[in-house]
Subunit: 258 residues, 2 copies
């Protein structure tokens, strides 16, 4: 059983994960971050120690959770001054094997959500994807994840990277389209909050209809009159959006007629 | 005061609007549609008459609501055998002037939402944008809209078309990205419903953070390692998505560094 953990990282994901674990009876022994203010801030929230020097990381934790950005993984791992018993990373597109040689037992604990430091999320609905070649650690990770989430599944690296890639489409790209929508409303002096109900309904809708069935708008029916008008509007106010508009309109039409 | 209406059209928007008006004490006198099953079905729901011949449209309604697809507007208008007192259309990108000459008083009643026949929506949160050059009709439309929605605003055609264009980005294009996400999860044998919490949180987030602030993922930090891996995955499984992936990633990065 995992009773306590060390968090390696104090970013968005580390912050929300530490809060959820702490709120569910898992002791956070220490938070490590190169950035003192980040480490201290998170340590204060979850009532733990913190350190900014890898050599000061406590060596007696049940589990070490690597939750830095992907690009900092190797520098943290290579700096470790001891070999943890159990170590997991939390990244979608990073294979389990990156931890090889850095701990006795290794795994992945991937909470599938977008995290911001300033925005608390309820972990209950967040799927947590677990991977480990060792059945003991796998069971412990399933139990740990089950403490904070109602949806825990085993998923191996090859599949997880597709899950992460799909997240880029439905989260990162979608959010960017919200940003482009705001660019347009700003350019026309329209309050962006008028779009909130539409944005929520578009997201809600695909719980009961497939996205293919839910598709509406000028592109799906190739309404060339409206499409031409809208391209002209974009050319006038936001010319850098014309290309994305045309590509996505064409793609919608192609998919509707697949 | 508008006590009763005739609906010209029985599609997604007409269906949801007729239900909302009917539930709020407005009598639907008749539903006109070229498609008998559609007209009859909606008429049954809102306890009204229906007709499939323009010449049979009752001439005594307080208001005529043109809620067909944009492309059918003119054919319905030109077929009318009388000149209504008050006539509105319900379209985002169609100017008020299209109704000139077809009624004594004309206006726009634009519920800003995505509608499906099979999915009921609560009108309370749906913004309704009103336009009319005549103050009497404008006031009556504001009152009518206020019966069904808590957010009613006046917006003229030139601004409304930008609102509609922004809807294409945050609804139609966003829904298409959900579709592409499902394409990816299907190709990897992943249950698409794993993405629902992420999709909902992405939509919720921008009520409290601007989309620019909320942006996460590999593109915003130009993580060329992950981006290269993901382009390779797409090339292997869904090559037709590579171009959209690259364009949107580049656009995210450009906006983050504006």
């Amino acid at each position: 059983m995992i009773h306590n953990v060390v968090l390696l990282g104090a970013g968005n994901l580390a912050t929300q994960l530490a809060k959820a674990l702490s709120a569910n009876g898992i002791k956070i022994i220490s938070v490590y971050s190169r950035t003192e203010t980040s480490a201290q801030k998170l340590a204060n929230i979850v009532n733990s120690q913190f350190c900014i020097d890898v050599s000061q990381i406590p060596q007696n934790a049940d589990l070490y959770i690597l939750a830095t950005s992907d690009s900092a993984h190797l520098s943290v791992l290579q700096a470790l001054t001891f070999t943890p018993q159990k170590l997991v990373h939390t990244a979608g597109s990073v294979p389990l094997e990156i931890l090889n040689g850095y701990a006795k037992s290794t795994g992945v604990f991937y909470p599938f959500q977008t995290f911001s430091k300033s925005r608390n999320v309820s972990f209950k609905n967040i799927p947590v994807l677990i991977e480990s070649k060792e059945s003991n650690l796998r069971e412990e990770l399933l139990t740990l994840a089950g403490n904070i989430s109602d949806r825990v599944e085993i998923m191996e690296s090859d599949k997880r990277k597709f899950l992460h890639l799909s997240a880029v489409f439905v989260c990162n790209f979608v959010n960017h389209l919200y940003d482009l929508g705001q660019e347009l409303t700003n350019s026309a002096g329209i309050d962006f909050s008028l779009l909130h109900p539409l944005i929520m309904e578009t997201a809600e809708k695909i719980k009961t209809l497939s996205p293919r069935e839910a598709q509406t708008g000028p592109a799906v029916r190739m309404d060339t009159n409206i499409i031409g008008q809208q391209e002209a509007l974009l050319n006038e106010k936001c010319p850098d959006l014309v290309e994305i508009y045309s590509k996505l309109s064409r793609s919608i039409f192609n998919y509707a007629n697949k």
